[in-house]
């Protein structure tokens, strides 16, 4: 059993379309999205329409909650004034360009999705199982903490997004945590690729037999130049366009821990 897990799309409907095609080519058994359909990129309705067209079950991210309920900000949890300045530009743009029908759709999304795969308990959430906008970075999340989350939330495999960077860690008893990354913007690695995850579950379903599943992170190439053109045409900040074209984050970075920050350019 193989599942395609998409993280934040951030209005990058071109990357989402490419990822759906890639997942179908791989013959996955299901596709899921972990939330944050909006932000950053152009034409929010196009992403939501793809999600609806392919009936992709989707967790409600902080962005989806904010846009759905027409709140005043994205609840991303940034703390730096410059980060918040840029976050607000994306948010105002996304809110004013999301149709009422699609806002209603965003309100219907669940805060988490639970699956039973070969008897193993799979939890799909946005930030963390306990908080939609909690950032689970690889370098600031202890294994003991992940063990506690798995225990408290009764899950053998936990999948999250929200940070923009993909990583995974094996836990005791074959359990696992993975941040599936995002389709919305590159992973601050100097390439224009974006990422999603394919989780493969074996049929044994017993703890003694090894890990719940293996997770592969899949890079996606898509027409990022076209996305950049459309972002410019929509009057979105040149800082965002630069990220799409260079693969380096230029905004919303003060939240990055030391190790993750060091890997980037800025």
């Amino acid at each position: 059993m193989r599942l395609a897990l998409f993280g934040g799309v951030y209005n990058n409907y071109l990357a989402l379309r490419a990822a759906i095609a890639d997942a179908k080519r791989r013959g996955v058994d299901g596709m899921y999205c972990l939330g944050d359909l909006g932000a950053f990129g152009p034409h929010p309705d196009r992403t939501i329409e793809l999600i609806r067209e392919f009936s992709i079950p989707c967790v409600q991210g902080n962005y989806d909650h904010s846009i759905g309920h027409e709140l005043s900000d994205c609840q991303c949890g940034y703390t730096d004034p410059r980060d918040n300045y840029f976050a607000q530009i994306s948010f105002d743009y996304t809110l004013s360009n999301t149709s009422a029908e699609n806002r209603a759709f965003l309100r219907t999304l669940p805060p988490e999705i639970r699956l039973n795969v070969h008897g193993r308990r799979v939890l799909l959430c946005h930030g963390s199982p306990r908080r939609t906008n909690e950032f689970l970075w690889e370098s600031t999340t202890s294994t003991a903490f992940l063990e506690r989350l798995a225990e408290e939330h009764a899950a053998d495999a936990i999948f999250a997004t929200h940070t923009g960077l993909h990583w995974q860690r094996g836990l005791s008893g074959g359990r696992l945590f993975a941040n599936v990354g995002v389709l919305g913007r590159p992973a601050n690695d100097g390439t224009t690729r974006v990422w999603y995850a394919v989780a493969e579950f074996s049929e044994h379903g017993r703890v003694e037999d090894g890990p719940v599943c293996t997770v592969d992170f899949v890079p996606i190439e898509y027409d990022h130049r076209r996305l950049a053109r459309e972002m410019r045409a929509e009057g979105l900040p040149e800082e965002f366009v630069e990220t799409i074209l260079t693969g380096w984050w230029t905004t919303c970075m003060e939240i990055l821990p030391a190790k993750e920050r060091r890997r980037g350019r800025y």
Binding site: P111, T140, S142, E151, P257
Partner: protein, 321 residues
């Protein structure tokens, strides 16, 4: 020794621990090589109110921390680098989780930093340095932190940068808020020029009007307190005491801010202290309420599921070290 919720002198709202996410070590006690005029626990070379922790205290803390599923560890004082075993402590921490150390950067030795950089490289976890420096020039910083401290701290920042770290520079705001942008811009330039630090991470913190700072300026007015009404609908995860405890040589405290108040000590050990709620009856609690978990790195500040981000700026950084 701990003041129980039932015999407290004030009727402030109680806050219990919702989850032990951060474990702090008051590793240098109240001992510091500096004696800043705004230090909220009045640290100095002679203040022995709290003493050093031993390496063993820290190792036991890390063990308990793992039992509780602690996410991140913090080291503070006083000046943590006065402790001869701090490097060993940080290395042990990086084996089990992320570590942050709050320092004034005036006593850093390049060989320690090299050793720590190697340890961090071999760990999946970040080692964060938070350097307290109270402005972009000696004219603003030195009257508060002491003559010559700006230049000495800049040497420390340069050493950190040379060792490959990206320290977070935290400034306590002693100017008008409108000047923030200008101060930050000036500081960026100065850090690039004088410390070779071109990707500076900067945070501005509010003052905590207790300890030496209460004597320097003024304390809190009696009306500046957290009330039960204020907590209605408030996301408590913005307060450090909601998800942290501090190991000191005198027991376990509710937060690193209130160490001078006897009620801050909640138990002899962690098991005792996690059970104890705390009455938010101090003026400093009011600052936390307004500004969020000022002591934590921003990554941990967030809101619970479904709750609105609301409340001002949810986190900045450490008040003083």
């Amino acid at each position: 020794m701990s003041v129980r919720a039932t015999d407290r002198a004030c009727d402030a709202p109680l806050i219990g621990l919702s989850s032990l996410d951060e474990l702090w070590f008051q590793v240098a006690g109240t001992r510091c090589n500096l004696q800043c005029a705004h230090c909220f626990i009045s640290c100095s070379p002679h203040n022995k109110t709290y003493d050093f922790l031993t390496l063993d205290d820290v190792l036991r803390g890390l063990e308990a921390g793992q039992r509780y599923g602690v996410r991140e560890y913090y080291f503070t004082g006083g000046e943590p680098f006065l402790h001869p075993q701090l490097v060993a402590m940080l290395k042990a921490t990086l084996e089990v989780g992320p570590a942050t150390v709050l320092t004034n950067a005036t006593v850093l030795k390049p060989e320690w930093l090299e050793e720590l950089a190697a340890a961090e490289q071999g760990s999946p976890y970040s080692l964060e340095f938070r350097v307290s420096l109270d402005g972009p020039c000696p004219e603003i910083n030195d009257p508060i932190r002491g003559a010559g401290t700006f230049d000495r701290a800049m040497v420390g920042v340069r050493r950190l940068v040379e060792a490959g770290f990206l320290p977070i520079i935290t400034m306590t705001r002693t100017w008008d808020m409108e000047q923030d942008t200008e101060i930050v811009a000036r500081f960026r330039e100065v850090l690039a020029q004088q410390a070779g630090y071109t990707r500076a991470r900067l945070k501005i913190l509010p003052r905590l009007q207790i300890g030496a700072e209460a004597r320097r300026t003024c304390g809190y007015r009696p009306s500046e307190r957290v009330t039960a009404e204020m907590l209605e609908g408030f996301d408590r995860s913005h307060l450090l005491c909601d998800h942290a405890r501090v190991i000191t040589d005198r027991g376990v405290a509710v937060c690193p801010i209130l160490l001078d108040f006897p009620d801050a000590l909640l138990g002899r050990d962690l098991d005792e202290a996690v059970e104890q709620p705390f009455a938010l009856c101090h003026g400093a609690c009011y600052t936390c309420y307004l500004h969020g978990a000022i002591c934590s790195n921003p990554a941990v500040a967030g809101t619970r599921r479904g709750a609105s981000a609301g409340q001002s700026d949810p986190a900045t950084d450490h008040p003083a070290s």
